[in-house]
Symmetry: C2
Subunit: 520 residues, 2 copies
C-alpha cells in the first residue's frame, strides 16, 4: 500500500536513491524503500508553496478552518493502518499512539476554532483626526502570515509533532503553506499522514502547493530546505546539534529567517523539604513513572531532581530504587537513539561522583533500561556533564546542602522547557523565594505535578529560554503557537474596499482594538 | 553644565580616553569632551541592570507607569536647554526638535498608559478539569520581560529614537532595564536626557541599575554591550552595515539573543495612472517636500518613485524639477553622513542610465543638496545600486513601461518599511492587484499620503521584512513595540498566592482570555 514517494504539491514523485524504514523493535528493514527527495524536489515543493501562498492566505477564515477540520477527519479515517505502522516504526505502544492520534486531530480542530476566533490577527484600528496638528491619519493593523514554513518532523512524536503535528497545524492556521521534512525514523507513518493532508488540500479546493512532504535520511535535505529563498520560517523539534545547525543556516541566508527549534531541556524538579518529608515514597513512585514514560523520550522528561540532603531524601532515594526495579525496558525510537542513550549512561557511570541509585529491568537489544543516579550539589556544579540532556529513561538526583544551594544551582542552569516545585503549605515561603529564579529559567513552572504532560490549550507554553528553544519568545504547543508565523502589517488611509475584511469599518465579531479600546 | 561622563546605574563616571562633540553646522568641536565608556563600564552597567531586573519587573504596573510619566516630566523640564543643545549637535531646526521633544515625552506617556492597560501581558487562564481523562491541569499564561535591553541611540532622531526614545520607552514599559549606547553625534543631548532619566529612576524609588548610558565613538563599545551575557535583547536604528554587525554578534553568543534593528528602506511610492494624470503638479510638490524633509534623513524617505511613462509622468518630472529649485540645502547630521550622501549622489550621477531631473539650491559645506534622478524600469531592474538606500534628500523616479513592470519591480524589491500608492477611484482595480505584492514587501502600506510621517499610535507598524528590519515580526514605533521585549511563561497548578497578581482568580480589570473567551 505504501509506495515510498515524496509528495510535491499533490504529486507523488519517485526519485533516485532510497533508504529503508526500520522496525524499531527488531531493527529489521521494512517495506517499501523510501525515495530521498532531490534538490529539485525541494525547489519544486518550495516554489509550489510560494505560488500557493497568496491564495491560501487570502481564504476566508471559515474556509481555512474547514480545511484544518477536513485534515483532521482524513487523519482520523486512517484508523488502525496509521497506528499500526507508527507502532512498527517507532516502537511506541498502541495505546500511546492512539492517544497521540487523538492529540494530533484534536490539535488541528483546536487550531480550526482558533482560526475562526480571529483574535490572533491582533486587529487594531486608530481612526483619523483631521483636526489634529499635524492631521492624524487612519491606521489599521493586522497580522499576516510570514510565508511558506519548513517543518521538521520529530522522531519522538511520530504523529503529534511530525507531518501534521503542532508546527504544521499552527503554520497552516496562521495562513502559511507548509513543506515538511519527514523524519526518517517513521517514513511510512509520514507518507500515510501526508496522503491524508493531500486529500484534505484537494477536498478543500486549495492549490496543491499548500502542503508537501519531503523524505530523506541525511542532513543535506534539511539544509537545502532552510536555505531555499522561498521559505520564510522554520519549525523544528529535535536535538540541540540539529537545532543549532538550522539556526546557523537560517542566519547565514541573504535574507535571514526565524527558526523555532525546540532542542534541549533537563526540566529540573525541586522537592521542597516539608513535602519531601511527608510524601517521599509517593513522590518516588511518581518520579519513576514520569522519567520512564515513553522510554524517557519526552522533551519534558524530568532529567534533574533537586532536594536538600537528609533522612527524607534518603527515604526518597530508597523508594526510587525500589520503584525502578520492576520498570520494564522499553523499545527506543531508533537504534541511534538507543546507542546514544547507552553511551550517556556509561559516561555518567564512569564518574566516581555519580552513584547509581537504581535501575529498571533489563530488556532486549532495542530497549532502553531506566537508570537513576545521584550526585552532590557541589559535584553537579563542578561538572557541566550532569546538566546535559540524556534522551531516554534516566534522571539525576542532586543532593543539595540547603535550599540556598538549590537556588544557586537553578540560577546557574541553562534555559529549560519546564521547572517543577513539589511543595506543601509549610514550603510556600521558600517556594516563593525560588519562583523568580524559575521564572527566568523556564517556559512553564509546574506545582505538584510532573513535567511529562503537555496539554494543548490556550495557556500552555512549550518553550523557554535558549537552549530549551532557539527563540524563547514563543511556544510550539497550544494556540499561542500561531503567533510564531505572523508579522504585523499596517494600512494607512486605505480606502475601505481595499482593506482586508477584518479591518473594514463595519461591525466585526472578531476582537479588535479600536482607538485603544478592545471590543468585539 | 555638561560634564561628559557616563551614567553607570546612577553614578556619573569619568573614564580614560575622550571624544569631542561636534557642531553640525560649523563642524567645530564643542565643549566638553566626552569620556569613552570602558569595558569595565559596560560590565558594570549590565551587572547593575541584571541586579535591578527582578525588582523593576515586579513593580506593580501603576508604579511602572508612574515612573515613565515622571521620566517624561523630567525631560519636559529640560526645556530649551535640551533643544538648543540638540540643534547644535544635530543641525536640525528648532521647530523640528521642539516637535521631537513632544513626540518623545508623548511616547513615554503613551507607554505609561499602555503599561496600565495591561492587555500586552496576554493573560490566559485555562481552568482545570479533574474529570477529564487524563485530568486537565490549571494553566495560566502571562508575558514577562526578557531581561536587560541594550538600546542604540539613532543619529537622525536625537530625542525620539535615542536615549529615551521609542526603544527605551517600549523596553522599560515591558519591564526591562535599559543600557543605552549613546550616539556619538549628540553626546551632550544624550547626557541631558540621561540625567532626566536618572532623576526619574531616583524619584520613583527604583534601583539605579534600571537605566544606564554609555558613550563612545567606536564600534567596540556596541560589540561589548551586545556580547555581555546579561543583555537579553537589542534595539537599534541605524545603518544596514551596523545592524548586520549587531545581528552577527548576537547570533554568535553562547546564548543568542533577539536583535531588533531598523536598518534600510527606500520606501517605494507608486503614482497610479489616473491619479498621476489628474494631479501631477500637486504630487510633485508633495514629493519634493517629503524627500527633502529633515534633509532627507528619515528612515521612511521616499527614495524610489514608480510610475508608468507618458505625458503625465513628463508633467510630474517637470514639476518636480521646478519644485526642487527653491529647496534650501540643509545641514546634515554629521560630516560623515554628508560625505556618504555626496558619494552616493556622485555614484548615481556617473551612470549614463540615470538622468538628473533637478536639484535644490546649493548650500554650505555641511549641507545636503536635494537631488532627483530618473531611470527607466529596465535600467532599475538591471542595476541593484538604484535600490540601495541613499541617506539624504534624494530620490529616483522609475519610468516604467506599464503597470506590469511596476508590479515586477515591486515584487523583486527587498523588504521595506513602507510602500505607498497614490490613486483615485479609476485606479482602484489596478491598485487592488498591486496590494498583495506590497503586503509581502512592506510593514506599512500608505494610500494617498507620503511615508515621512510615522504616528505613534496603537496601529502603527514601523517595521517590515529584512532588510528594512532584522526581524519583520515587530514594530519599533507604536504600542505594539512593547511585544518585542516579552516572552510567554506558563504556570501549571500554581497555588493562588504564588501566582502573579494578574493571573489570580479574582476579577481582573485587565483583558484576559479565560477558557478561550476574551473578557475584562
Amino acid at each position: 500500500m505504501l509506495h515510498g514517494k515524496n509528495l510535491i504539491a499533490g504529486d507523488w514523485r519517485a526519485g533516485g536513491t532510497t533508504f529503508a524504514a526500520v522496525d524499531a523493535a527488531s531493527g529489521a528493514a521494512i517495506e517499501p524503500r523510501f525515495y530521498e527527495a532531490t534538490a529539485g524536489d525541494v525547489a519544486d515543493a518550495c516554489a509550489a508553496a510560494a505560488d500557493a501562498q497568496h491564495a491560501y492566505a487570502s481564504l476566508p477564515l471559515a474556509q481555512r478552518a474547514a480545511f484544518l477540520r477536513l485534515a483532521a477527519d482524513k487523519i482520523d479515517a486512517l484508523g488502525d493502518t496509521l497506528t499500526q505502522r507508527a507502532m512498527q516504526e517507532s516502537g511506541l505502544p498502541e495505546a500511546r499512539l492512539i492517544g497521540e492520534r487523538g492529540r494530533t486531530v484534536g490539535q488541528l480542530r483546536l487550531f480550526a476554532d482558533e482560526v475562526e476566533n480571529g483574535a490572533w490577527q491582533a486587529l487594531r484600528i486608530d481612526h483619523a483626526d483631521p483636526a489634529r496638528t499635524p492631521p492624524k491619519p487612519d491606521l489599521r493593523l493586522r497580522k499576516i502570515p510570514l510565508g511558506p514554513v519548513a517543518v521538521f518532523g520529530a522522531s519522538n512524536f511520530p504523529l503529534a509533532f511530525s507531518v501534521a503535528g503542532g508546527d504544521t497545524a499552527s503554520a497552516l492556521a496562521a495562513g502559511c503553506c507548509v513543506v515538511v521534512k519527514g523524519h526518517p525514523a517513521h517514513p511510512g507513518t509520514s507518507e500515510l499522514v501526508a496522503g491524508a493532508m493531500a486529500d484534505a488540500v484537494k477536498g478543500a479546493g486549495l492549490p496543491a502547493g499548500v502542503f508537501s512532504l519531503l523524505n530523506g535520511a541525511g542532513y543535506d535535505l534539511g539544509e537545502a530546505l532552510v536555505k531555499d529563498p522561498r521559505i520564510a520560517a522554520v519549525g523544528f523539534t529535535g536535538s540541540r546539534a540539529g537545532g543549532l545547525a538550522l539556526m546557523q543556516h537560517a542566519a547565514a541566508r541573504a535574507v535571514p529567517i526565524p527558526v523555532y527549534a525546540e532542542m534541549s531541556s533537563v526540566n529540573p524538579v525541586v522537592l521542597m523539604p516539608a513535602k519531601l518529608d511527608s510524601a517521599a515514597e509517593d513522590l518516588a513512585a511518581a518520579y519513576v513513572a514520569s522519567l520512564s514514560l515513553g522510554a524517557g523520550q519526552f522533551c519534558t522528561n524530568p532529567g534533574v531532581l533537586l532536594a536538600v540532603d537528609g533522612t527524607a531524601l534518603d527515604r526518597f532515594v530508597v523508594a526510587t530504587a525500589k520503584a525502578l526495579e520492576p520498570v520494564a525496558a522499553q523499545t527506543m525510537l531508533t537504534g541511534g537513539i538507543r546507542k546514544a542513550y547507552e553511551s550517556s549512561i556509561e559516561k555518567l557511570g564512569a564518574y566516581d561522583s555519580a552513584s547509581l541509585i537504581g535501575r529498571g529491568a533489563e530488556g532486549s537489544a532495542s530497549c532502553g533500561r531506566a537508570h537513576v543516579y545521584a550526585v552532590s550539589g557541589a559535584d553537579f556544579r563542578a561538572n557541566g556533564l550532569f546538566e546535559e540532556e540524556v534522551f531516554g529513561p534516566s534522571s539525576i538526583i542532586v543532593r543539595c546542602v540547603d535550599l540556598a544551594e538549590v537556588a544557586a544551582i537553578l540560577g546557574a542552569m541553562e534555559g529549560q522547557l519546564t521547572a517543577t516545585l513539589h511543595m506543601e503549605e509549610a514550603d510556600r515561603a521558600d517556594a516563593a523565594d525560588l519562583l523568580p529564579i524559575l521564572e527566568q529559567r523556564a517556559g512553564r513552572i509546574i506545582a505538584n505535578a510532573w513535567p511529562t504532560g503537555v496539554d494543548v490549550t490556550h495557556a500552555m507554553v512549550h518553550g523557554g529560554p535558549f537552549p530549551a528553544t532557539s527563540d524563547g519568545r514563543s511556544t510550539s504547543v497550544g494556540t499561542l503557537a500561531i503567533d510564531r508565523f505572523l508579522r504585523p502589517l499596517c494600512y494607512q488611509d486605505m480606502p475601505e474596499d481595499l482593506l482586508p475584511p477584518g479591518l473594514r469599518e463595519v461591525d466585526s465579531n472578531v476582537w479588535r482594538r479600536v482607538d485603544g479600546v478592545y471590543m468585539a
